[in-house]
Amino acid sequence: MAAVSTREIRKQFADVHAIDGISLVARDGEFMVLLGPSGCGKTTLLRIIAGLEKPTSGEVLIDGEVVNEMPPRARGIAMVFQSYGLYPHLTVWNNIAFPLRTQGTPREEIKRKVEWAAGLLGIDHLAQRRPRQLSGGERQRVALARALVRDPTVFLLDEPLSNLDAKLRASARSELKAFQQKVRTATIYVTHDQVEAMGMGDRIAVIDRGRLRQVGTPTEIYEHPADEFVATFLGTPPMNLIERDGGSLGFRPENFLPKDLLNGAPVVEFPFRVARVEYLGSEHILYGALDGRAAKREVTAKLPAHATLGGIAPGVERVFAVRETELRYFDRDGRKAQHP
């Protein structure tokens, strides 16, 4: 059952196509991530779904109903903004209560719902504080409580973790995911961080320059990218792409290993000249070039820490290989192709 679906949404600003025909479905209870680089249109799409902006054409459906003409408050959505948008002059309690007050909810019910939401997010003890007295993580929880209290059909989250410092982000990430799994509300989450996307999403929609490139589970997207953009956007370092017959041949750095480490399955060999080695503790990253093969960027190999370098150093050339099953082919338009 679709909680939210968009049909051929287009959004034009002057000559720019911010969104160029996106059709997407987010199912009940699903955590759907909109992933893409800055300016790709993901936030615009989210705002169109919320009703804060109108699409140039196309329809938004929530719970099966076309909502294009409805204001945000009638759509059954709740939104958490990048800087949370908490009302600075209200206490935490009143912040959470605000959306209920606008609907004219009776006092006892407001009390009940606010206490329930605050309890669920563990912020009861902060009820009388003002936003400026809270830490980043606490503010995020208040924003979530305020969203939760509306009992929405879908949560819309716009990069809520980007304002937290790096250390906090990891724990906030798992808290958010746990929270969503508890309440089982469909969620659309916008981010440019692929680690967040892979870690949290049930499905990921990769967007670039207003177009939907691929929708799928993290596994589908990572292992079977639909085009070169998706292939290189996910994964650090990005997938290696080398020119081949007008199109490209791709393989991920972690699949690009010294031949002697790949016993068993059929492989394709590449002579690899190492230019630089980075030791990152948990792994080694080797940068270099393939003899006789042209590539757009430096070719990289990612070796796990326990694999011995065995004399691999800058300047050394070694035979590296990739399992045939790990090779990906892209045609001259950059799209996924079959192995010829």
Partner: protein
């Protein structure tokens, strides 16, 4: 081993300009001096004169205690003056700032000609007080008032009973209030626009998503957030109006028969025109407690400006 030559200690004066502890106070001294000599000193002088019997005709200093104060407070003219000052101030703030808020909301929309509209709306406040007041004086003229002419032309006024805007007590009060409000409202417009645009978009979006309609967004969300800024505007506006002399002096000279006198114009009348410096000083000093309150409230608002 190289010999270490003894170096003669350099005179301290060479590094005078290097020392922030010296440069700091040095840089700020002229400003403080100016303020002390030409603001603090006159203030104390005013106090000094207020308890004397100093007039320019008889400039001997004679201490008379608080006699001047009682003289002034018991005078009917003074009471009238005090009331007028309050009436004009409050009236002008209410009209001026309400209009300003309303105009700000209009001017924040994008429409063709908005730039010109904004430039025109700013004019009343930008133009020197005396010149603007002169224009209004002409507009309120007893014979040729364009306002009267229009009212007659529209049929609301009988040509025989022309309104004496500046000659009749109640009309004069209205006239002065209108001019003050007119001067004040552009200030209000700019402050409100600045305030409205300072509210982060996220908060406005959140309120929209939370179901707040136009009025609720304005009165429950935006206004409380920009309250400190409004407060500052209110203080400045109040001080400008309360301490005004120019508008009243030029429009009505305080008339009819002291009917529109304000503290400033009365002080001028008594202290300069009549030469009674002592009583004039007392009237001036009545401005002080009011200013003190305004300053304290302003300080509070300045402190609170970041929520």
């Amino acid at each position: 081993m190289t010999a270490i030559t003894a170096v003669a200690p350099r005179p301290k004066s060479r590094f005078l300009l290097d020392r922030p502890e010296l440069v700091g106070p040095l840089f700020i001294a002229p400003a403080i001096l100016y303020v002390l000599v030409l603001v603090a000193l006159p203030f104390f002088l005013a106090l000094y004169y207020s308890v004397s019997a100093y007039t320019i005709f008889d400039p001997n200093y004679r201490y008379v205690g608080l006699k001047n104060f009682t003289d002034v407070i018991e005078s009917d003219i003074f009471r009238r003056t005090l009331i007028n000052t309050l009436v004009f101030t409050i009236g002008a703030q209410v009209i001026g700032l309400l209009l300003g808020k309303f105009a700000a909301m209009l001017l924040m929309q994008d429409f063709p000609g908005r730039g010109i509209a904004r430039a025109l709306v700013v004019l009343p406040w930008a133009v020197p007080v005396s010149l603007a007041t002169l224009a209004w004086q002409w507009m309120f003229d007893s014979l040729y008032s364009v306002i009267n002419w229009t009212l007659v032309a529209v049929g609301l006024l009988d040509p025989v009973h022309r309104l004496q805007w500046l000659g009749q007590q109640d009309l004069a009060m209205i006239a002065v209030t209108v001019v003050h409000a007119w001067r004040l409202f552009p200030f209000g417009v700019v402050i409100f626009i600045a305030g409205f645009t300072s509210v982060p978009q996220d908060i406005l979006d959140a309120a929209t998503v939370d179901g707040a309609g136009f009025w609720r967004r304005n009165y429950q969300i935006i206004l409380p957030i920009i309250a400190p800024i409004i407060m500052i505007a209110l203080i400045f506006g109040t001080v400008f109006t309360f301490t005004d002399l120019s508008v009243v002096y030029l429009l009505t000279k305080g008339g009819p028969i002291n009917g529109t006198q304000v503290l400033g114009s009365l002080a001028f009348q008594v202290g300069i025109l009549s030469g009674d410096v002592a009583h004039g000083a007392v009237i001036c000093l009545f401005l002080f407690p009011f200013l003190l309150v305004a300053v304290i409230v302003l300080l509070r608002a300045l402190r609170r400006r970041e929520i």
